[in-house]
Symmetry: C2
Subunit: 342 residues, 2 copies
């Protein structure tokens, strides 16, 4: 009999996520007979997207998304093929390739309302719909364009620049005519950023100080700081912002495992003195913004097709390896979008 | 012979400003013979405006305005009558009532380019041009309207609500149909706020905690937090902001005398979770914004004339009393705009 490999959530981590917080289980599974509710579909999962925000679902604290449930499969954005549909489903049909929230599993029964049929684009691999054309891409584009408002010739600094969002922020900003500076956590990643056309990049783990690095690499100050990391780097970047600078705040990965959050020292002074705009963002706001979505699809599909955005995936094969991949991603092992090929 | 009373800047304070940091001097002065340069004017000062931002000019640290010079008169926004004009001045004439940056003095020789002739409005006292129709009024209106974007029915919370800016923020917000909550540093001030039509107000010095006070007085959360104080109150307000809330950051008076700034703990988390916009403001940006200026004059002059904004001045007579008035204002002694009647 066939089986379904799933990854269950076992326990709320304190600090770093470890393998013991997740459990890989293999259960007998018959895709032809498993119960599929009237409004549900059965999906054969092809790709899963692992993202740092998921750490927030592994806490009991109220967050902008619901916590994972102990004993239930973890969830992720994914791509799959529709294998069966419930009686009242007419939005998708068997054989469709869809994207939406699925379980960390080979097979997943999910509400039909939670997926949409994928629009395929010439010369764009399917899994890119979880990255540059999916949630991280829209996060990057939406935050940069709608909050950052980058203008030609301005300096855009991106932290976490070698991550799924950061790589796209930097390259979109380059295509908009900006000088782009990135930081990342290894010399290898810094090299990748420079190869991708970043004007400057530095390894935040080996610089003398964040302040010195920003002074060196952003000699004209920072007009847009796209913040993926929060904490001490945000404090340092505030020192280097230009008058009327914009700070889209996308993530605070430096803080997700901190038991005591790093407190920002000079926020008000810099905000007032330089009339900075600091604004948090969530991709969910962008999905419902038609104008932005149109710009995103137009700009980013054509950048990808023309090679003006280079895009990396860090693909790990097998859903049973998802826990290790997730843990590695939280520690910064990946360059580019973390994908599980199921 | 006539004299000119001036207040000189004596020394950079550390922490609170004291009388020893300023010096009142009376020097022989003949307004008919004092040197007035070709581009200058001699003004008989009528009113001076004292404002918390001046504390920032009393430090050696680089700020958004130049530091005061040791041994020279302190400066302030003021209103005066033009007594003499230099050879090449044609923008104003003798007898004009003007407003601009003047010295803390009875007489002040200043560049003609630094003043503008006052437009007088029916039923509006002259000194109001230093307050509700001047810098604090425009600060309040500009920050509230252009960053706060208050919508009818929303909750607007203002800290430092009994100050020159806060009083106007609250009343403009009321006129825009918002529920308005204010905090201030004495029960007397709280009473004033309630008398002015604030829906709720509290004394931040006597509440159990800022968090508890905000929970009690803003049961539906905060949509716009107009921040005059920074520090711990900003941290508390972040906890109570609603999704898509806006925080115009106008001042951080709680921090101006702090040798160690209070560090903000949960900024990134709240920013992202609730997609907050936090933006610093300076009135100088608004003077050059024609659309905003037109709205300001139209709205606020008519509010004042119709009694829809009530406006208080804390008038101290005599320039020799300006140092004491300034020190008192920094400690929160004033209710409403601190004015010196020269």
């Amino acid at each position: 009999m066939a089986t379904n490999t799933q990854v269950l959530f076992k326990d709320f981590p304190e600090g770093w996520v470890e393998e013991k917080h997740m459990e890989v289980v293999k259960t007998p599974f018959n895709p032809e007979t498993v119960a599929v509710g009237d409004d549900q579909i059965l999906v054969k999962v092809k790709f899963l997207s692992l993202d740092p925000y998921m750490r927030g679902r592994m806490t009991k604290a109220k967050s902008y998304v619901a916590s994972f449930e102990i004993g239930k499969p973890l969830q992720a954005g994914g791509i799959g093929e529709v294998h069966r549909v419930g009686k009242s489903v007419d939005s998708v049909k068997v054989g469709d390739i869809v994207t939406g929230m699925v379980e960390w599993a080979e097979w997943s029964v999910i509400p039909a309302a939670g997926v949409k049929k994928l629009q395929e684009h010439k010369d764009v691999p399917l899994s890119y719909n979880l990255g540059v054309l999916g949630m991280p891409g829209l996060t990057a584009y939406g935050g940069l364009i709608s909050i950052g408002e980058p203008k030609e010739g301005e300096t855009v600094y991106v932290s976490g620049a070698a991550g799924a969002v950061g790589l796209i922020v930097g390259q979109v900003a380059k295509n908009k005519g900006c000088r782009v500076v990135g930081s990342a956590g290894s010399d290898e990643k810094v090299k990748v950023l420079l190869d991708l056309g970043f004007d400057a990049a530095f390894n935040y783990k080996t610089v003398k100080s964040y302040d010195a690095a920003l002074a060196e690499h952003c000699p004209k100050g920072i007009d847009v700081y796209f913040d993926n990391v929060g904490g001490e780097m945000l404090d340092a970047a505030l020192n280097h912002m230009n008058v009327h600078g914009r700070i889209p705040v996308c993530g605070a990965i430096s803080q997700y495992n901190a038991t005591e959050p790093y407190a920002i020292k000079n926020l008000s002074m810099h905000l007032i003195k330089k009339r900075l705009r600091v604004q948090g963002l969530l991709v969910s706001d962008y999905y419902v913004n038609k104008e932005l979505m149109a710009g995103f699809t137009k700009d980013v599909v054509s950048y990808v097709q023309q090679g003006k955005i280079k895009y990396f995936e860090h693909i790990v094969e097998g859903v049973e390896n998802a826990p290790r991949a997730f843990i590695g991603m939280m520690k910064g092992d990946n360059t580019g979008k973390q994908i599980i090929k199921v």
